[in-house]
């Protein structure tokens, strides 16, 4: 097979090249020719095509994402901002944490187990490459209809893959989301988040500095994974008998990744590394061009030194392979031997594949012949940028006009009682233990809170108890009704969840899952969501530190609901002060914090009971969210709260049931004055939480709320002895007194059955 070298490219300017098959537009191809002053070699074409793809270049989203930087609130906490593999946040006492969420949606639809598994693997390597030890993972997931046969294929596979990889890697899974909606039927969303910690002085960046320094590729061998499209370079154009189309699915090896973590932390700890980069999308193309572009600007690579799993791979394929569990490090010549020795200790294959130069050029040789000579910035950072047309969706006015006020509401106490059971049993609200019990939440011994708590909480410093809490959220029905408000509500919910457990919200990551950016209506949704999130972060004082964009999520021509998943990270000085979800102690008072309005459009109730989506989502008040968070954090720190739970999907009804079920303790409840019982139970007004206050703290706590003008309504008392009053001896019950003097009694056993049996009933 003939090798397409730089010399050959110069000599044959008119050779036709399959740029369109590789996803490049004619003008993009033309620009590459202008940059190089000649046609690209097939290897260069491979690199540009993959690095200029939407996924790697952010060409449609860049102009919008800028707002995250421009509107970023001043924050001392931000040590490394947007643009690196992951942002880094100061959490005090010399500790820094890094966290990020990424999507692996399409691979997980094709091969659920491996797609989800490699999604976890990829995000974990992002965290390692900052110099951090990974501490925990989370998995925000979205699937189609729960009873659809394809969901029965996809969901168990995705869950097994996330568990299979994360469990074997030894990272606790401390939270996530599981949402069902028809809009995800042909395009489930598998997002994965990882958080890691390090001391400030251990932060590492992806840059290749120091002329003469060596570039070491280490980890798994390179195979033909994830390069489906590139094979055209080898087969159609340059050699008809070339390799068959390679599979686009990658298989993960969590054991190798575990070795890679330990090995990487050991070489970093020994001070052997100048720059480091993980290999993810676009593999060696991405790692070498980014390292060079961020560093002294030049690099030379001997591509034939890359250890291969499959000797028939062409250089184009090697450049683009997305084989998992590989890393790249820049090491001074004096440290190479020590670096390789540590790799050997961990049974990790490592090879010097290149060298930092000052040529300003990334040059790559294949058996002595030059196949790439490009300015690395043009590959990594100066890709095309599009200002795509956007248009408010045509049907949006009608959708917003069709609000939930016209839906019939439960009228009698019996109807209300049944509706609570039905909502609690709805797949989106139901107990997720069938899924989360497949995840190790204890490994590493620092898990303070994990699912189903409002946020996952990890102790970072064993000596002082300093820790972090993380929550991810997004109600995409709200985002569909109003993407600006929907993104803000997603942020507000995650922010509130973190504060609910007692941590101070500090920083934000996001994974923006949308339809096709070439559809103006999707682009409008995207722009609105980004603007909403950036504004919210500015007002709440929490900067965005990083994230990920996933476009082209649709079933046929129908885009998914806009799904801007937001992750908020908070810090807690001593995890011993954390506020759990369960109430335990008889006589403690139950308060509802915040204002409850008649806000049922887009609610879980409208979705479950009426299959309805329309109207406007609940109002957002970020000032109120801040005050609420302050109260929740102060209440936790000063021992005024024994339990807390944020109010979101399914409203107060769901919050109360979950709190009661957690430790199987009942309560006596009443509807606050002036509120309609149905609205009290099912409204999804934002800015609210249910808290439990010990008797001795009630005065102090209510005074604190009053001083901050935060409404606090006493709505009940924890009571484990109600069963007898209700004629159900020895049973735990929730009893709700209605304004008319009637009351509703729910045995917790019934609620548990309703809440618990849904997922096992569906999946197994």
């Amino acid at each position: 097979m003939t090798l397409d070298t730089v010399a050959a490219a110069q000599a044959s300017p008119d050779t036709a090249q399959p740029f369109a098959e590789l996803g490049l537009k004619a003008d993009e191809y033309q620009r590459i020719r202008e940059i190089l002053g000649r046609r690209p070699t097939s290897s260069e074409l491979a690199m540009y095509s993959v690095m200029w793809s939407e996924h790697c270049s952010y060409k449609s989203s860049k102009v919008h994402l800028r707002q995250f930087g421009e509107k970023a609130p001043p924050s001392d906490a931000l040590l490394v901002g947007i643009g690196e593999n992951a942002g880094v946040v100061d959490i005090g006492e010399g500790w820094a944490v890094t966290f990020k969420v990424e999507s692996h949606n399409h691979p997980s639809y094709v091969e659920p187990y491996q797609g989800a598994a490699t999604g976890v693997g990829g995000i974990v390597r992002d965290i390692i490459s900052m110099g951090a030890r990974p501490l925990a993972v989370m998995d925000p997931l979205r699937f189609g209809a729960p009873d659809h046969p394809d969901t029965k294929r996809v969901l168990p596979g995705v869950v097994a893959g996330i568990g299979g990889y994360g469990n074997c890697l030894g990272l606790p899974n401390i939270g996530g989301e599981v949402v069902f909606d028809d809009c995800y039927q042909g395009n489930p969303l598998v997002n994965a988040l990882c958080v890691g910690a390090m001391k400030h002085e251990d932060i590492h960046l992806a840059s290749a500095k120091g002329v003469g320094n060596k570039v070491i590729l280490y980890g798994a061998r390179t195979g033909g994974d994830g390069i489906g499209g590139v094979s055209v370079l080898a087969s159609e154009t340059f050699d008809e008998t070339g390799p068959a189309k390679r599979p686009s699915v990658q298989v993960g090896d969590p054991f190798m990744e575990k070795l890679l973590i330990e090995c990487t932390l050991e070489v970093l700890g020994a001070g052997l590394v100048e720059g480091i980069q993980d290999l993810g999308g676009a593999g060696i193309s991405c790692a070498t061009s980014e390292l060079a572009s961020n560093g002294d600007g030049g690099m030379h690579v001997w591509l034939d030194r890359v250890p291969l799993r499959d000797a028939t791979l062409s250089p184009e394929e090697i450049l683009m392979s997305e084989s998992q569990e590989r890393m790249c490090a820049v090491v001074t010549p004096a440290h190479v031997d020590d670096f390789l020795r540590i790799c050997r200790k961990w049974d990790v294959e490592a090879v010097v594949i290149g060298e930092v130069t000052d040529t300003g050029s990334l040059t790559i040789d294949w058996h002595g012949e030059q196949i790439v000579a490009v300015p690395p910035r043009t590959v990594a950072h100066e890709g095309p940028v599009y200002e795509r047309p956007s248009a408010r969706p045509a049907g949006l006015d009608d959708l917003q006009a069709n609000d939930a006020s016209r839906l019939p509401r439960p009228a009698t106490p019996d109807d209300l009682a049944r509706t609570v059971r039905d909502v609690v049993a709805a797949p989106n609200v139901a107990d997720k233990a069938w899924i989360t019990d497949q995840y190790d939440r204890y490994v590493r011994g620092n898990t303070v809170l994990a699912q189903p708590e409002d946020s996952g909480m990890i102790r970072v410093d064993e000596r002082t108890g300093r820790g972090v809490a993380i929550a991810t959220d997004c109600n995409s029905r709200f985002a569909r009704l109003d993407p600006y408000a929907g993104a803000q509500l997603a942020f507000a919910e995650a922010y509130r969840n973190v504060a609910t457990t007692g941590a101070v919200p500090l920083a934000v990551t996001n994974c923006l899952n949308f339809g096709s950016p070439e559809d103006p209506e999707v682009m409008w949704q995207f722009a609105e969501a980004v603007r909403g999130l950036a504004d919210a972060c500015q007002q709440a004082g929490t900067p965005v530190t990083g994230g990920n964009v996933s476009f082209y999520n649709s079933t046929g021509d129908v885009a998914i609901h806009p799904t801007p998943v937001v992750g908020v990270l908070g810090v807690i000085e001593d995890v011993a002060a954390r506020t759990p979800q369960a109430w335990h102690t008889d006589g403690e008072a139950i308060y509802l914090l915040g204002d409850t309005h008649d806000e049922l459009s887009g609610s879980e109730w409208a979705h479950v009971i009426h299959g309805h989506l329309g109207g406007r989502p609940p109002r957002v008040d970020l000032h109120r969210e801040r005050v609420l968070a302050e109260v929740l954090v102060a209440g936790s720190r000063d021992g005024m709260l024994s339990a807390a739970h944020d109010v979101s999907d399914g409203g107060v009804a769901v919050a109360l049931v979950e709190m009661a079920l957690r430790a199987d303790v009942g309560a006596r409840l009443w509807v606050p004055d002036g509120l309609d019982p149905f609205v009290f139970l099912f409204s999804e007004s934002a800015g609210r939480a249910v808290v439990v206050v010990p008797r001795s703290e009630e005065q102090r706590f209510t005074a604190m709320c009053a001083a901050r003008a935060l409404p606090a309504q006493r709505i009940g008392v924890v009571d484990s002895g109600l069963g007898d009053d209700a004629g159900r001896p020895s049973q735990q019950v929730l009893v709700l007194a209605l304004p008319g003097g009637e009351q509703i009694t729910w045995p917790l056993a019934d609620l548990r059955e309703a809440h618990g049996r849904t997922l096992p009933g569906l999946f197994g």
């Binding site: 961990w346 995840y439 011994g445 303070v448």
Partner: protein, 224 residues
């Protein structure tokens, strides 16, 4: 101070947690590397949980041949207290220090949950601080924890009183006779699927500290 060795294989995960539990119990943890040929100067050894060598062939099948295991087997014969937890239990079965084998959970799913156990044998090096019949709650987290042995072996285990802990309130994996952990006849070698090291602090892991006495028992047996 009593020294308890904790082996790290490639793919061990709970080694750090066992070291913490050993410290909380008041002993000194000594990290041991799988490639070492001797365990050195330690008073007891824990083979921790995880996925040694990825557990790719069969749980524990490859770790069994690690150089250090020969020395562990040798000293176990001389009465060295050896505790295998989860993957460690699987490894001890593969080395034949303990009979039987751990197979895929009956549900075919990995399971992580807080699990009630009954302590049945309390004259071992690792359970002498419990009372017979104690009910404790510590977590299980495994995909292959279903204890399997032939009837003769099971009868023998029961007859000799070698079942150390049994699942209570539901069997998480389909283990024969609800067996969660067993010992050798001498009581110095114990293996169990649940993780006592994840129940030694109130704040983290399973609520409570029901697992701590596995580690304090070892101290007791070494002093006593």
């Amino acid at each position: 101070m009593t020294k308890i060795g904790v082996i790290t294989f490639p793919g061990s995960l709970d080694d750090g947690d066992v070291q913490r539990a050993v410290r909380v119990a008041g002993a000194e943890p000594v990290p041991l590397w799988h490639a070492a040929t001797t365990i050195g100067e330690v008073d007891a050894v824990v083979v921790p949980g995880g996925f040694s060598y990825g557990d790719y062939l069969r749980c524990g099948a490859i770790a069994r041949f690690a150089p250090i295991m020969a020395d562990v087997v040798h000293h176990a014969g001389d009465g060295l207290p050896v505790l295998g937890i989860c993957n460690g239990f699987q490894i001890l079965c593969e080395t034949h220090l303990l009979p039987g084998v751990l197979t895929r959970n009956e549900s075919l799913h990995y399971v992580c949950r807080d699990q009630a156990l009954t302590v049945e044998r309390t004259d071992t090096a690792w359970t002498n601080e419990y009372e017979t019949g104690d009910r404790i709650v510590i977590p299980v987290k495994h995909g292959e924890g279903r204890y399997v042995a032939d009837d003769a072996t099971l009868d023998w285990l029961e007859g000799e009183g070698l079942v150390v802990v049994r699942y209570a309130d539901g069997n998480p994996n389909g283990s024969f006779r609800d067996i969660a952990g067993i010992s050798n006849e001498a009581g110095n070698v114990v293996g169990l699927m649940p993780h006592p090291e994840h129940a030694v602090e109130d704040l983290t892991g399973t609520p409570g500290t029901d697992g701590l006495r596995f580690f304090t028992s070892a101290l007791q047996s070494l002093v006593g």
